[in-house]
Amino acid sequence: MKKTILSTLVLCLVALLTISCASTQSRYSMLMADSYSAKPEGYDIQTFYDDDIPQRPFIKISRLDVHLEKTHFIGSSLNDALPDLKKQARLSGADAIIDIKETSSMVGETKIYHVTATGIRYTQ
């Protein structure tokens, strides 16, 4: 009986430490009144880094945000955020991502990473 209670407590502690120590929040918001149908899952979203922009004409259609927080002093990077960033781009109907801006900070032992980008749609 005693052993069962102890193992349950240990299990709960391990579960709490592994489940509740990280959070991911992501969203998109449209930059204009027009809305576009979402791109299908698996649609290849092109990513342009730094000041790189596509050669084809495009319009900026959405603002994309991904926010990652991890405790235990564990940090996050763009690679961790990219799948969610592309998912939000697809949901907003974008073809590609430009203007990627990263910010990092820390609260206690929680490392905070936020990335904002712009979803674009090709016009030709």
């Binding site: 102890l6 969203r27 405790t71 206690g108």
Partner: protein
């Protein structure tokens, strides 16, 4: 030993229940006011964006009030999250909006919580002066 284990479990349960209770932000006369030379709709959008950038889940989104809650995270020592932020918007003209921000921290986990007022105001200023 059995009693001791039950006591520990009870304490944990009470702690978890207390952690679930979030405090409410309050806009008092002493809360600093920042005025933006922008219409209220633009400023409200910037307020929502600022909450997203600082890791808040937007829980209320009205034209004159926006509220967010930071999800709790358990850490090795203190963890973080559990703060509630309120942003009050007052239209002072067609192109002028006054803003007040207040962070409420919950009773438990206060060590890992932060006053987010300045960060949020900075984010709003950044997006409104683009």
């Amino acid at each position: 030993m059995k009693r001791h284990v039950v006591r520990v479990m009870l304490f944990g349960l009470i702690l978890a229940m207390m952690a679930g209770c979030a405090s409410t932000p309050v806009a008092s006369d002493a809360t600093p006011v920042t005025v933006f030379e922008q219409p209220i709709v633009q400023v409200q959008k910037a307020a929502v964006d600022a909450l997203v950038v600082t890791g808040f889940d937007v829980t209320k989104q009205e034209l004159t009030y926006v509220e967010g809650f930071r999800p709790r995270k358990i850490g090795l020592f203190v963890g973080s999250g559990g703060e509630t932020v309120g942003i009050w918007l007052t239209e002072q003209g067609s192109n002028q909006t006054a803003v007040k921000v207040d962070t409420a921290r919950s009773f438990t986990g206060i060590v890992g919580q932060k006053i987010w007022n300045t960060d949020i105001m900075n984010e709003m200023t950044k997006s409104l002066t683009k």
